[in-house]
Amino acid sequence: MSDSLVKVRSLVKHFKLEPKGLFDAPPVLRAVDGIDFDVQRGETLGLVGESGCGKSTTARLVLRLIEPTSGSITLDGVDVLATSKKELMALRREMQIVFQDPLSSLNPRMSVGTSIAEPLRFHRIADKVERFDLARRYLEIVGLSKDYYDRLPHEFSGGQNQRVAIARALILQPKLLILDEPVSALDVSIRAQVLRLLIDVQAEFGLTYIFISHDLSVVKRVCNRTAVLYLGKIVEIAESERLYREPLHPYSQALIRAIPEANPDGPRADSLAGIEGDVPSPVNPPQGCRFHTRCPHRMPVCTEKEPPLMEAGDGHKVACFLHQEAADHSDGQ
């Protein structure tokens, strides 16, 4: 457990929204509301949850594309939030991201080869000719021909563009790669190929992944551990295999029940079997346990107190009062 590349502690991001009336206080949207997790070197940590639960916000915070309200993040022992501009540049070389929509994540007026080489230019790593050679080499690494250097993104398919985005993320040889729904926008038929590529380059470059998705069947396939988010909180985190076999949190149970085994391209977490209602607004999250409004096992305590994330054995943690007692006993309290 000691060899973690990323450590996130009590991370909070509140967005201030536009006030409704002239004299109203601005409403606060609790996108990420106190989350803790570690990512071990070389592993793939999955972040799953319904739309709007704070997955992308977490990714942006870790990369320091946005500033957190509070909390701490370390990458390889370096405090991500306490860096000078120059140190931040150095940090940016260590962590990269691949976004969901490949077409819009590439400059439409830049050839894909140039786009791949851009991070080298930003960091002044190589000269023009070297950048050109490296860009062509990375085109081949992600399974494209080096002759495609001059193509524009709109001349490519979604899968090809996502390969370009992956090449761009890899060219700085980062330690951490955050994949924000990297295959959700792609045709079902090519998802598997892109996932294969991601798994291959992870082994080849010794990468650590944070894999964001709401497609649980994909997460099950690629992630060593999985964290389930609900309204800006981690409700359960465990080895993927264990989480899928015996989910403890009612929300995780519903998510996992919603995957039809027969269909590997599976439904998205948006359709929850056995769970009534919609996700409450992150502007006014429910008192107590945030899930209590939709929980089939609701108890009186759930509406009053917020359950902390507690160890339930072997690194399996869950934030639910149903499992609180067992945890209390094992802690000897």
Partner: protein, 309 residues
């Protein structure tokens, strides 16, 4: 493995790569132009307008060599109809050759259409991109100041500015430039704000790009296209405005030939010799229409998505 280890090349390899890179860059440029022209050429009206404006530009630029007479010298009968005194288009109310005046006047008309639009576009792109990308109080200051100008109709503002300066071509250009900046700056700002939200901007930031790099390589190329289209259509309109200002006496001064002043000069003899006003007025309308057609064509030519292999 560090990045430096990735790039170990022999000098022969390097030389070969360098020449391939040059070829590739040249190829990209050539193909961009080809595709842009291909998209532009689909619009026949735009092609016609481009040829027409090209011809007019050549004719007016070479007016000193082409014009059969001195534009400011009386060479025929006052208000002579086309053909009289050997003047193809006839004479104006002073007996000056209309054709020569039309050629010379075209220079000023084009200059007062193109120059303020280009100048205003440059200023507006700077202001709009800064306001739109940086946002915050800088945005507030820039846009609120421009709003003050925006509150006046363009023509009225231009008249007020031109009226408070010495009349002449440079006054004309300056006043129209100032009056035009807020219009273009608004478009630039709106486009910049929407480009700023594109994921490729965030991707560049995650890659380590600094703000100036993002502005130069990502924001500017993607905001410029709609602005160029808009500005091109404005050229014709500004020609009309400039003519109007000259008509009111705050622009070009007699005896200098200019399509705007020619229309106003012809008023005096409108009944007897309508052609004295008509030719110049006709040119203003046709040329400004042509710029609008060119703008339409550019819309497709500058959109990378509209170009298909």
């Amino acid at each position: 493995m560090t990045n430096k280890d990735q790039i170990q090349e022999t000098s022969t390899q390097r030389r070969r790569s360098a020449s391939e890179l040059r070829r590739e860059n040249f190829h990209i440029m050539l193909r961009t132009l080809q595709l842009a022209w291909h998209a532009y050429a689909k619009d026949k009206a735009a092609v016609g307008a481009l040829i027409f404006i090209g011809i007019i530009m050549i004719l007016t630029i070479f007016a000193p060599y082409i014009a059969p007479h001195d534009p400011n010298e009386a060479v025929g009968t006052r208000g002579g109809l086309p053909g009289t005194d050997g003047l193809i288009l006839g004479g104006d109310m002073e007996g000056r050759d209309l054709l020569s005046r039309l050629l010379w006047g075209g220079r000023i008309a084009l200059l007062t259409g193109v120059a303020p639009t280009v100048a205003a576009t440059c200023i507006a792109v700077f202001l709009g991109v800064v306001a739109g990308y940086i946002g915050g109080w800088i945005d507030q200051i820039i846009m609120r100041v421009l709003d003050v100008f925006f509150a006046f109709p363009l023509v009225l503002l231009a008249i007020v500015i031109a009226g408070s300066l010495d009349p002449g071509v440079s006054t004309l250009i300056l006043s129209i430039t100032i009056a035009l900046v807020p219009y273009i700056a608004r478009l630039v700002r709106t486009t910049t704000v929407s480009v700023k939200q594109e994921p490729y901007i965030e991707a560049a930031r995650a890659g380590g790009a600094t703000t100036p790099t993002i502005l130069a390589r990502y924001v500017l190329p993607n905001t410029l296209a709609p602005v160029i289209v808009y500005s091109t259509t404005l050229i014709g309109l500004m020609m009309v405005v400039a003519s109007g200002l000259s008509f009111l006496g705050v622009g070009t001064q007699p005896p200098e030939a200019d399509w705007g002043t020619m229309v106003s000069d012809g008023r005096a003899v409108l009944k007897k010799a309508p052609h004295a006003s008509a030719f110049a007025g006709f040119m203003i309308v046709i040329v400004s229409l042509a710029f609008a057609f060119i703008g339409d064509g550019l819309r497709d030519a500058l959109d990378p998505r509209a170009r298909v292999r």
